[in-house]
């Protein structure tokens, strides 16, 4: 009986102290910025879904393209209808591995995340430098990268080609909370 109680006590204690492995955000932020001679193009998405699995050192990101907010209506329309074709390709995804990740290291660590980014149905390997912070049992991952518009076959009308930058800067900030299925 004593052994059983001891076992129960140990398993309860273990249950309470067992570190969480999966972390989720439904409100990750992704912004993009593209320099244009006429007017810079900027948009923000605050509804990005991301799952971080610290035991597997993996991260997955899912972005609803229509959830990017622009200041101007026409820019938003062109982005969804002409450039991204959001009806056909509603989501962009990223799946990657955090290299040399130290999951339980408190404070901040700068690491590379290597993975595949899919936009408009085209998948390309990418390597992104990110700051990972672990505090009070929660993770934050932030960083930025650039993508080349021609890699994802984003069609820019000839008349605008010389006025719009060939690369787009993408910034992200994900604040994760422990996740239990």
């Amino acid at each position: 009986m004593k052994k059983l109680l001891l076992l129960l006590f140990v398993s309860i204690c273990f249950g309470f102290t067992k570190p969480k492995n999966q972390y989720l955000t439904r409100n990750g932020q992704v912004t993009f910025f593209s320099y244009a001679s006429a007017e810079n193009i900027k948009a923000e998405n605050n509804e990005v879904l991301s799952l971080l699995d610290v035991s597997k050192e993996k991260i997955a990101v899912n972005i609803l393209m229509r959830a990017f907010e622009f200041e101007k209506s026409l820019m938003q329309e062109h982005f969804n209808d002409s450039y991204i074709e959001s009806d056909v390709y509603p989501r962009a995804t990223f799946e990657g591995t955090i290299l040399n990740f130290k999951p339980r290291l408190k404070g901040s660590q700068t690491k590379f995340i290597k993975g595949d980014f899919t936009l408009r149905g085209i998948t390309k390997p990418v390597k992104i430098k990110a700051d990972i912070t672990y505090n009070d049992g929660e993770y934050t991952i932030s960083g930025e990268t650039t993508i080349d518009v021609k890699d994802y076959k984003i069609k820019i009308p000839q008349i605008l080609a010389s006025k719009i930058a060939k690369t787009v800067k993408i910034s992200f900030n994900f604040k994760y909370e422990p996740y239990e299925k």
């Binding site: 409100n27 509804e47 959830a67």
Partner: protein, 138 residues
């Protein structure tokens, strides 16, 4: 005389076209207050209908349209100056994430978690939750 009339008309046409183009290019995102909603849904009814988030594609015909969603407020988050409210169904399987218009701050400050609310917003699609932008409390 004729030349003067033609020149004046030409200037007027150029001005009208110029102003029109400027207005189209610089048109701001419309205020949801001024858009009529096409449908009202209860988040619990949505849960009963779709059962799981993967089936939310049934609502794809509402993308880019204003809809009303009724349900229990479960989260209020603030990102920079933006407020994001979450309405969750009774069994927690379906949620609606509502990115609020900036003129809603006073109303948001009066809300309490657990309260039943109705939100009007532009439906953008889903990931594991329904996503609405430019939302207002009605």
């Amino acid at each position: 005389m004729k030349k003067t009339i033609y020149a004046t008309l030409l200037i007027i046409v150029i001005c009208v076209l110029g102003i029109g183009t400027y207005k189209v290019i610089n048109k701001k995102i419309p205020n949801t207050q001024n858009i009529s909603s096409v449908e009202t849904f209860s988040i619990n009814t949505i849960e009963t209908k779709v059962k799981k988030p993967e089936n939310l594609n049934e609502f794809d015909s509402y993308i880019e349209k204003a809809i009303n969603v009724k349900g229990t407020l479960t989260h209020i988050k603030k990102h920079d100056e933006k407020y994001i409210l979450t309405i969750t169904s009774k069994n927690g399987k379906i949620a609606s994430i509502c990115n609020m218009q900036s003129d809603q701050i006073d109303k948001i400050n009066k809300l309490k978690i657990g309260e039943d609310i109705t939100i009007k917003g532009i439906y953008k699609g889903y990931l594991i939750d329904m996503i609405l932008l430019n939302c207002i409390i009605i």
